[in-house]
């Protein structure tokens, strides 16, 4: 189980890196999205995977049962999901603008702003 999710995180990270390194700006965005997923899954998994029950206290209980999933990690991931969504939306528009302004997908033109 854990080994499998570790593998999943690794595959996400590898595919994200590949997309970042090999392709144009559009795929760089896809890569960033994939990396963000990898990081979220890492935070979620590193805190320990739950057994299927939720971090919600049942109606008749006063506290969570033993072996509950880590609610703090879930809260962190939730925040991270939202933040990476905001950043991704911003990037997407940036891509659109770069394209509109330079007429390329924006990366080769970058070299010209340097020297």
């Amino acid at each position: 189980m854990e080994t499998l999710s570790a593998l999943l995180i690794g595959v996400f990270a590898a595919c994200g890196t590949w997309l970042l390194l090999r392709h144009g700006l559009f795929r760089i965005l896809l890569g960033l999205a994939l990396l963000a997923q990898a990081a979220n899954l890492l935070v979620f998994t590193a805190a320990g995977l739950g057994r299927g029950d939720t971090a919600i206290i049942a109606g008749d209980a006063a506290a969570l049962p033993d072996g509950h999933p880590d609610p703090l990690a879930q809260a962190l991931v939730l925040t991270a999901i939202v933040i990476s969504f905001g950043a991704l939306a911003f990037c997407l528009v940036l891509l659109k603008m770069t394209r509109a302004r330079t007429g390329t997908s924006g990366i080769d033109a970058l070299a010209k702003t340097e020297s």
Binding site: L35, S84, C91, L110
Partner: protein, 494 residues
């Protein structure tokens, strides 16, 4: 006002000010008043905070939501945080004055003031918080507002630089989040002190070392160290000048601060691994930055590369990690924030009168605007380390510590880099001010409004130069407080 209110307000007040700026964005005058008034208010808040922390001698704490320390989010304001908040408020005020003179109606209407204050909410939050995930959140606030400010003007060449900036910083966030997730998994805590006390027993655990590596990468990218600084030079030179000044003065320094906070304080026990690494990174950063600057002929590109080389100097303190060295680095940071902001603002004034930033096409400003010439010379010489300005003492103290630790190679490199820095500054001076007036047309008359913040920061540089001892004493105390949060040396009763 209670102390805890004083600690919370540097983060909360900018949020309110941002909303206020948003509501008056349609009127340029209203926006200007809100920007200047608001940043003055922030300054009026940061100075008492600094004084209180200095008076108290121990860090102030604030547990948000009244949840005691490990449960909720805690701010811990030691002297280092307080100094940096105060310094960034001063820079913010100067930047606001310049922005009020520089920014046009369209930018105000798009919410320039709002982003400005949100940026400071992020910066202050990052300086004050003592919680790793909260630090991540403030970093993101800071980055998103800087992204927005970067592209606000929609200038033609902004987007290329902005793309690099955004993409690389998102990769940095990925590293940060991964490292922090691993640390949380390992320790079950997010508060830096709690993490540190749990880690000290197992300092060579692979998870600890690799999460430390990931955090180092994340902060290193934000700080602009070698070889992770690529996003910086293309991004800064294409914005408004006030924006570039605030970015250049503060953003990288937040990354450096995070490095000091984590690797000097909580992770200080890793110093057997990190100290040589930081010395090496510091030297490489100095050299790469200064070579980059020497090869440029565009005022703000030169300045952008010098940010990098100066970051190298500041990192030396983290490599040496003695109290004196850290104090020297803090001194250097304060000096550098003022001077760099000042240079960017002066560059703005140069561009406003010379109509270009290209050194080959500038010239003759000495005749038309001698005051600007002097005001540029102050931070320029200070950056080059000429006495009796602040930069001289900053370099002197740092080098003395390096010599004391017998880091000879570092010393020689630092001296050489200093000479090249001076060379770069004289290059700008000679080309923009001294050279004959270019054919393209005489410089425009200077707008005095733009010189006020330049003069303000210049005066601060001189004051630091005249009374270096006072600042150094404060920096030493701040260094002591920072290093005492290293769990390896921490008093067990605390």
């Amino acid at each position: 006002m209670t102390e805890s209110t004083l600690v919370a307000l540097p983060v909360i007040l900018p949020l309110g000010l941002a909303l206020l700026s948003w509501s008056c964005r349609r009127s340029p005058t209203g926006s200007r008043v809100a920007l200047i008034g608001g940043s003055a208010l922030l300054l009026a808040l940061a100075i008492p905070l600094f004084l209180v922390v200095r008076e108290a001698g121990t860090p102030l704490r604030l547990d948000f939501g009244a949840w005691r320390k490990p449960l909720g989010i805690s701010f811990k304001v030691d002297l280092l945080s307080a100094i940096l908040v105060a310094v960034s408020s001063i820079v913010g005020f100067a930047g606001a004055l310049f922005a009020a003179g520089e920014t046009g109606r369209i930018l105000w209407a798009k919410g320039y003031g709002t982003f400005f204050f949100l940026l400071f909410a992020g910066i202050n939050g990052a300086f004050l918080t003592h919680d790793l995930f909260n630090l991540f959140v403030w970093f993101e606030v800071m980055l998103m507002s800087s992204f927005a400010m970067l592209v606000l003007g929609r200038r033609r060449f902004v987007f290329e630089g902005a793309t690099q900036y955004v993409v690389i910083n998102m990769v940095s966030s990925f590293f940060f989040l991964s490292g922090l997730g691993l640390l949380y998994g390992k320790t079950g805590h997010l508060n830096l002190e709690e993490i540190a006390t749990r880690l000290v027993a197992s300092s060579s655990d692979p998870v600890i070392l690799s999460s430390a590596t990931l955090l180092l990468l994340a902060f290193g990218i934000k700080a602009g160290v070698f070889p992770l600084y690529f996003w910086l030079p293309p991004a800064y030179p294409n914005t408004g000048f006030a924006t570039a000044a605030v970015f250049g003065g503060l953003l990288t320094k937040v990354g450096v601060y995070a490095l000091y906070r984590v690797f000097g304080g909580a992770f200080g026990f890793l110093s057997e691994y990190t100290s040589d690494l930081f010395l090496a990174i510091g030297c490489a950063t100095m050299i790469a930055g200064v070579l980059g600057a020497a090869s440029q002929f565009h005022v703000r590109r030169i300045l952008s590369f010098h940010i990098i080389s100066q970051i190298g100097y500041i990192l030396l303190g983290l490599g040496l990690l003695t109290q004196g060295a850290v104090a020297a680095a803090i001194f250097y940071t304060v000096h550098h924030i003022f001077v760099k902001t000042n240079l960017f603002l002066a560059a703005g004034a140069i561009a406003a009168t010379g109509r270009t930033e290209d050194l080959a096409r500038l010239g003759g400003i000495l005749k038309t605007s001698p005051l600007l010439a002097i005001l540029f010379l102050i931070p320029a010489l200070s950056l080059g380390g000429i006495p009796p300005l602040s930069g001289f003492f900053a370099k002197f103290i740092l080098l003395r510590e390096a010599i004391r630790e017998e880091a000879w190679i570092v010393t020689v490199i630092a001296l050489l880099v200093g000479i090249v820095t001076l060379f770069s500054m004289t290059k700008i001076w000679a080309e923009a001010f001294w050279k004959e007036t270019p054919r393209a047309g005489a410089p425009l008359p200077q707008r005095p409004m733009l010189l006020v913040p330049v003069a303000l920061l210049g005066a601060l540089t001189i004051v630091i130069g005249l009374f270096p001892g006072t600042l150094f004493a404060i920096a030493e105390e701040a260094a002591r407080q920072l290093l005492s949060s290293n769990p390896a040396t921490m008093n067990p009763i605390q």
